[in-house]
């Protein structure tokens, strides 16, 4: 376990050093990041001028959802995108061979090798919005609701990660995973709004088929103290299943890779 923590630390410090290596590029990334932030804030401000309710959500509480979305989007930019879009290159260039011959879990390596620090401000902004809006909507935090919030965020992240990893792992067959990542961004974007703002049929799909509700709505409900325990329980089981499935799928994909590559 200690070995894995030390490896992550070195992965991320080298990732940071790589990003600093090109000063101009780093500057541009910083500017792009500020742009993204401004974009997020602008969309949020639209919420304030609207003044109506979304579903049965007041719009301070809808703002909590925006905060959770911003947080997950930041985490996606920092961790999921840099790593999982890289899997295609490992396959195409054949450097996956080196990863497979390291005495470390290959899914671990491929999932955490990189970390883009440009995602960090969005993560911080997202969390700030969550807490600010939760206070505005009159929520009083208890250590219990904070705990449930963290667990439900974790559930959301694991589901998002697993779906993304599944698609990225399929590049072992297709070598190019075209714009699969765009599909996932759209999935995440669907979570910008409270799930009850959607028509009933979409609500059903977003909860059970594409678990968008678990990404943003449920964590927001958790911090507002409204999340039902059975949903949290269901989420724990669902995210574990997604994660286990992603691991099994990776093992299956590797079996194909190692019997087909040369």
């Amino acid at each position: 376990m200690h070995r894995y923590f030390k490896t992550i630390r070195l992965f991320w410090s080298t990732a940071f050093a790589s990003q600093l290596e090109y000063q101009l590029n780093f500057l541009i990334e910083l500017i792009a990041m500020v742009g993204t932030l401004l974009g997020s804030v602008f969309i949020l401000s639209l919420f304030f001028t609207g003044g109506r309710q979304l579903g049965d959500w007041t719009w301070e509480s809808a703002l909590v959802i925006q905060g959770v979305y911003t947080f997950l989007d930041g985490l996606t930019n920092a961790l999921l995108r840099p790593n999982l879009t890289e899997i295609v290159n490992y396959v195409r260039e054949g450097t996956l061979d080196y990863v497979l011959l390291k005495p470390i879990d290959s899914q671990f390596w491929l999932s955490v090798k990189k970390f883009s620090f440009a995602g960090l401000p969005e993560i911080i902004l997202g969390l700030s919005i969550v807490f600010w809006a939760a206070i505005q909507s009159g929520s009083t935090f208890s250590s219990y609701s904070l705990f449930v919030f963290i667990i439900s965020l974790l559930i959301g992240f694991i589901i998002l990660y697993s779906v993304w990893f599944l698609i990225a792992a399929s590049s072992i067959w297709f070598v190019k995973t075209w714009n699969a990542t765009e599909v996932l961004r759209a999935l995440l974007a669907a979570g910008r709004y409270p799930i009850s703002a959607y028509p009933v049929i979409l609500r059903f799909i977003f909860t059970l088929v594409l678990p968008v509700a678990f990404l943003t709505t449920f964590p927001a409900e958790a911090i507002l103290g409204e999340l039902k325990f059975n949903i949290l329980f269901f989420g724990l089981i669902l995210s574990s299943l997604f994660f286990i499935f992603s691991r099994l799928f990776w093992k299956f994909a590797l079996k194909h890779y190692t019997s087909a590559s040369s």
Binding site: K6, L10, T14, E21, Y98, L101, P103, I104, S262
Partner: protein, 332 residues
């Protein structure tokens, strides 16, 4: 199959087939390919058996696509064999157990593992962490290998600024950090200039002597093989057709020697036919292949029959022999 304790690697009747889809050209072929895919099994490696003892340096020879890389990758566990058996140090490679992975390493000349934008040193410490080495162990090990490889400042310069030779040496350093006892090298000198090739070679030979590590290597450059590998395994179209020491391969390949003659006056080719097989005839220079038993007679006859300025006798170059061997497809 019993693994004798004196054998480190046992390969027994190993085969690998790839399933390949065949597509006819044109739109019609594309449609057909989409709906009704015809596949066939293409053999990459067929029924290969050999054993390797600890500390041996073995060269794998073969033309492009002969199956060398497939064979190497089956031994390090990257490719599952279709049929047959591989054992490396008591492990079944394809299971890729941690204990096995810590004993082996793979260097591929055309693929790199160092982080492109950072100095090799950063990648080295990442590798050290992955293999569970402490910072102190890593430092000692890096210094030791850097000295053997004659690497210094290069290790703190971004990889993208290094020459190909420096980069390859750094790659080798990165893959030897964890003291592997079995080295798989796939074209480790690919693209390097003659000096850099020689340095990699002398390093490998010294590493083998110092640590007793077993080295298996494929190379296109005969010089790598002649300098490093007392034993060669030749593979042609997926089949093993020679396994033994390099010297006897050369002898069995060429029962004849090369006689180069420089004449005072140009002569017609007909005049040389009776002495041996004419390899080359160019104005005043003649190159003949003469069988060993007739060599002395032929040379004395040549000296009496012609006005000769210079005469040279040598073995035909080994890579030429191997090339001919692959065309003929068998050893004499």
């Amino acid at each position: 199959m019993h693994n004798n304790s004196s054998d480190l690697i046992v390969v027994d009747q190993l085969s690998k087939y790839y399933r390949v889809a065949n597509k006819q050209p044109g739109f019609k072929g594309t449609l057909k390919h989409f709906f009704d895919r015809k596949t066939s099994d293409v053999p990459a490696v067929t029924d290969i058996s050999f054993k390797i003892s600890p500390g041996e340096v073995v060269g794998f020879l073969g033309a492009n696509g002969a199956g060398k890389t497939t064979l190497l990758k089956m031994m390090c566990g990257l490719i599952h064999p279709s049929t047959g058996f591989v054992d490396v140090g008591g492990f079944s490679p394809q299971r890729r157990q941690t204990a096995f992975l810590k004993e082996i390493t793979l260097v591929m000349g055309q693929k790199q593992q160092l982080i492109w934008d950072l100095p090799p040193m950063d990648s080295l410490y990442v590798n050290a962490a992955v293999y569970g080495l402490s910072d102190h162990e890593a430092k000692v090990r890096i210094n030791e290998l850097a000295e053997m490889l004659e690497l210094g400042e290069e290790l703190t310069r971004p990889v993208r600024k290094l020459s190909l030779g420096q980069r390859m040496k750094s790659e080798i350093l990165a893959s030897l950090l964890h003291k592997p006892s079995v080295l798989f090298l796939d074209e480790p000198t690919l693209g390097l200039d003659v000096n850099a090739q020689a340095r990699v070679r002398s390093f490998l030979s010294e590493y083998n002597k110092r640590t007793g590590a077993t080295i298996l290597l494929t190379s296109h450059y005969m010089a790598d093989i002649t300098a490093l590998c007392p034993r060669v395994i030749c593979i042609h179209k997926g089949k093993l057709f020679y396994d033994g020491d390099l010297d006897s391969l050369a002898n069995s390949l060429s029962p004849s020697r090369e006689v180069k003659v420089e004449l005072k006056n140009p002569c017609a080719s007909e005049q040389f036919k009776k002495y041996g097989e004419i390899q080359d005839l160019n104005d005043r220079f003649v190159c003949l292949l003469v069988s060993r038993d007739k060599l002395t007679d032929v040379v004395s006859n040549l000296l009496t029959d012609f006005d000769i300025i210079d005469l040279e006798i040598s073995d035909p170059p080994i890579d030429q022999l191997i090339g001919e061997l692959f065309i003929k497809g068998e050893v004499n």
